[in-house]
């Protein structure tokens, strides 16, 4: 008796744990309270929390601003934030929860391409509007997603001729060994060759490589005019220190499609090492426009301590919130398809990052792109390109013709 009763009660305990996991997390239904739910899925802990935390801060700040101006359609907007802890299975769990349980009107988030490809099909399936606000390799073709980050065809296309013009025609590419790195390296090669140059070698590094000694020796023997860095993540930061330690900083200049993209690199790597790296993104805090200056001041006022890094990631999260709010106001409805139709109408938005509109064929942003040179933790803008098209995604995706597409295309350059 003893035995089986103890077992049985243990099992009841187990069942209770299982059942509790399924209980609704919100004390009351959001819709009944007349609130509009914005879901936020950014890595707030784990290895890319330095990127996720600012995006989340800016999203919450945008919600505050929308509410301060009276909310949307007479309702208050409420942010529901989850921390997927850089764990893909939690991304999928929380995305499902936002769509089905919280009935979010829109979800902002996903940072790595892996996390986006985890949650995008879920949000597509459960018909929840989705904004992806991170620079990435291009190729998403899904009418449910608005993609605001820059793609290689927007940034690399400008960065390569600009830097080649300054430094010379022989380029050595070092890239992270995953989709983003591989595809971006292929774009670098294409643009270098189109501009009459030569990629002398391309080396790929798994994301956990920390020792770059052999590569630095190889670069020394190849003697390129410049190095194009597509390195990603904390481990790869070692490259820049080892590069400077080998005395290469004075010898060969570096351009990068990734350095400072999340903001952390410019804080961690000392200016002596990082100065002079040339990058190209869709946003820099040093953009000198009234809209941006006002926005930067506003962010600093809202977050006087722990001021979020202002980068593409956080600025485009702001863009996403503003574009979405504008669509709700214009459509006068929360209906997902009506919002999508407004955004597809080719409206031009004036945002801190510059002018931006949504390409109806790809749902990617057509936006201003900048080239900047890093000096003492500040990006000094050298050049601006207006209204650059996401030509890479446009080459594979046409949502006007195939509105039901639900795919991430691998853009082949062969």
């Amino acid at each position: 008796m003893t035995r089986n009763i103890s077992r049985r009660s243990m099992l009841k305990g187990t069942a209770a744990v299982g059942a509790a996991s399924a209980l609704p997390m919100l004390p009351f239904s959001a819709e009944a309270a007349g609130e509009i739910i914005v879901g936020g899925l950014h890595d707030l802990s784990g290895f890319i929390d330095f990127a996720g935390i600012p995006m989340n801060q800016i999203m919450l700040m945008a919600i505050e601003e929308i509410n301060a101006s009276g909310g949307l359609l007479g309702k208050k907007v409420k942010g529901v934030v989850y921390d997927p802890q850089s764990n893909m299975s939690m991304y999928s769990q929380f995305a499902t929860q936002l769509a089905l349980k919280d009935k979010a009107s829109v979800v902002m988030g996903g940072i790595t391409s892996a996390s986006r490809e985890t949650i995008r099909p879920i949000l597509h399936r459960f018909k929840t509007l989705y904004f992806y606000n991170t620079l990435y390799e291009g190729g998403v073709c899904d009418r449910n997603e608005i993609t605001l980050g820059t793609t290689p065809a927007q940034t690399v296309e400008e960065l390569v001729p600009y830097t080649m013009g300054m430094w010379g025609k022989k380029v050595y590419t070092i890239a992270a060994d995953y989709n983003y790195g591989q595809i971006t390296a292929a774009w670098v090669k294409r643009y270098v060759e189109q501009n009459g140059g030569e990629v002398v070698a391309t080396d790929f590094f798994p994301l956990d490589v920390t020792n770059f000694g052999p590569t630095i020796s190889k670069i020394q023997s190849a003697k390129p005019d410049m190095v194009m860095s597509v390195l990603v993540g904390g481990a790869h930061l070692g490259f820049y220190n080892q590069w400077a330690a080998a005395g290469m900083k004075k010898e060969i200049p570096i351009a990068s499609t990734t350095f400072g993209a999340g903001g952390a690199e410019i804080e961690i790597i000392k200016p002596e090492v990082a100065n002079g790296i040339v990058t190209s993104y869709g946003y820099y805090p040093s953009i000198d426009s009234p809209a941006n200056n006002a926005w930067v001041a506003k962010v600093k006022k809202r977050y006087p301590e722990k001021t979020p890094f202002l980068t593409e990631l956080s600025a485009f999260t702001w863009d996403g919130m503003m574009i979405w709010a504008d669509a709700v106001r214009t459509a006068g409805s929360m209906d997902r398809m009506k919002l999508i139709e407004v955004m597809e109408s080719g409206k031009t938005y004036n945002l801190p990052s510059g002018q931006c509109s949504i390409d109806p064929k790809t749902h990617h942003a057509i936006r201003d792109v900048y080239i900047a040179d890093l000096q003492d933790k500040t990006f000094i803008i050298k050049k601006k390109f207006s209204q650059v098209q996401p030509a890479d995604t446009q080459s594979v995706c046409d949502l006007v013709k195939n509105p039901n597409s639900n795919k991430h295309y691998e853009i082949s350059l062969k």
Binding site: M1, M10, A22, Q85, S92, L100, S113, G181, H408
Partner: protein, 342 residues
């Protein structure tokens, strides 16, 4: 004797009956989202059973059980994408994991690897798989129509289809019931196996390898069989995981997943089957809850809890609570009750 048989089977019987009740009633009383969440725990419970068995009842400490989980997931993904249905890919995934476990087990047990060294070999093999799969981002890594995808993994893996109707995808409730049925079946089969002669020899190997071998048993062969059974269960769980998530990425092979599996077993209690299942549900539920809260940092909380579990409950959650309960029961019920047959 009769008493012992009772004791042996009643616990397992209760688990099985309770499992069946969950299988039948959960889809009736819970909504879609909740059913999806519980499906996750079912799959992870199956995965943790694979290690709970080979470690708790065969004395094989594998640091790389995630290797089978990942292999099962990847094999299932590639074959399901190519074949369009899932029943045969599910079987292929299990079969390949058994073969892989056979090859690896032969390599280890017949090389007389033991103890922590054996654990490290399983870990190293898993990490090699991790490195190699991570390197498959380029377009040249394609099997049939399935791109391996490197770090980003394979997206859009088919949802399980009905075995008797290969073009029909399972509804979430059906998938839950299907997986739950597999979990109950595996649990009962393992229980039968543990109580069989094979199982008793396996336990004697765990307790004293030399003595068992001197009694004339081929220890290596027994260990190999146990390891292959563990591989089959791990592979099945991996295939189910891939189908449940609809994606699989190389992180499944990472140190983190292998270590997590170990931790679930330790936390739940080595040497039981139900304990590790409780361990996985409790710990995963905890990190899920932490993800929705505004703690300063979730890793601090999770880390502290792990340390406290080890220090305060050295036997694991299930045995500790069981013992506490037994003590309370005896105290309350008087001395006679403790002796009553269960």
């Amino acid at each position: 004797m009769l008493r012992n048989i009772h004791k042996d089977w009643l616990g397992a019987g209760f688990v099985a009956v309770l499992g069946l009740a969950i299988l039948i009633f959960v889809p009736v009383y819970f909504d879609l989202f909740e059913v999806l969440q519980m499906t996750k725990y079912v799959v992870l419970a199956l995965f943790v059973l694979s290690l709970a068995y080979i470690w708790g009842f065969g004395g094989i400490l594998s640091f790389g059980q995630a290797g089978f989980f990942g292999l099962g997931g990847y094999v299932f993904a590639v074959s399901a994408i190519n074949m369009g249905q899932t029943t045969i890919p599910f079987l292929i995934a299990i079969a390949l994991c058994v073969l892989f476990a056979g090859a690896l087990g032969y390599f280890m047990f017949y090389g007389r690897l033991n103890d922590v060294y054996l654990g490290v070999v399983t870990l190293v093999v898993t990490l090699i798989l991790y490195k190699l799969i991570n390197h498959t981002a380029g377009p040249e890594y394609i099997i049939g129509t399935a791109r391996l995808g490197g770090f980003n993994g394979i997206p859009s893996i088919p949802i399980m289809t009905l075995p008797w109707q290969p073009d029909q995808e399972m509804e979430p409730a059906q998938m839950f019931q299907y997986f739950m049925a597999i979990l109950i079946a595996v649990y009962v089969l393992l229980h039968v196996l543990i109580k069989s002669k094979f199982g008793r020899v396996a336990i004697s190997i765990r307790e004293n390898e030399v003595r068992t071998s001197l009694l004339g048993y081929d220890v290596r062969l027994y260990k190999l069989c146990i390891f292959m059974i563990g591989g089959a269960i791990g592979g099945a769980a991996g295939a189910m995981w891939a189908s449940y998530q609809t994606f699989v990425d190389p992180n499944i092979f990472s140190l983190e997943w292998s270590a997590k599996c170990l931790i679930w077993v330790i936390a739940g209690g080595v040497g039981t089957l139900i304990g590790p299942i409780i361990g996985v549900i409790a710990l995963e539920y905890l990190s899920f809850q932490l993800g929705q809260t505004d703690f300063i940092n979730n890793l601090i909380v999770l880390g502290t809890i792990l340390i406290l579990v080890v220090l305060l409950m050295p036997k694991g959650l299930f045995p500790t609570f069981r013992d506490i309960f037994l003590k309370l029961w005896r105290r309350r019920g008087g001395q006679g009750d403790g002796e009553r047959p269960g």
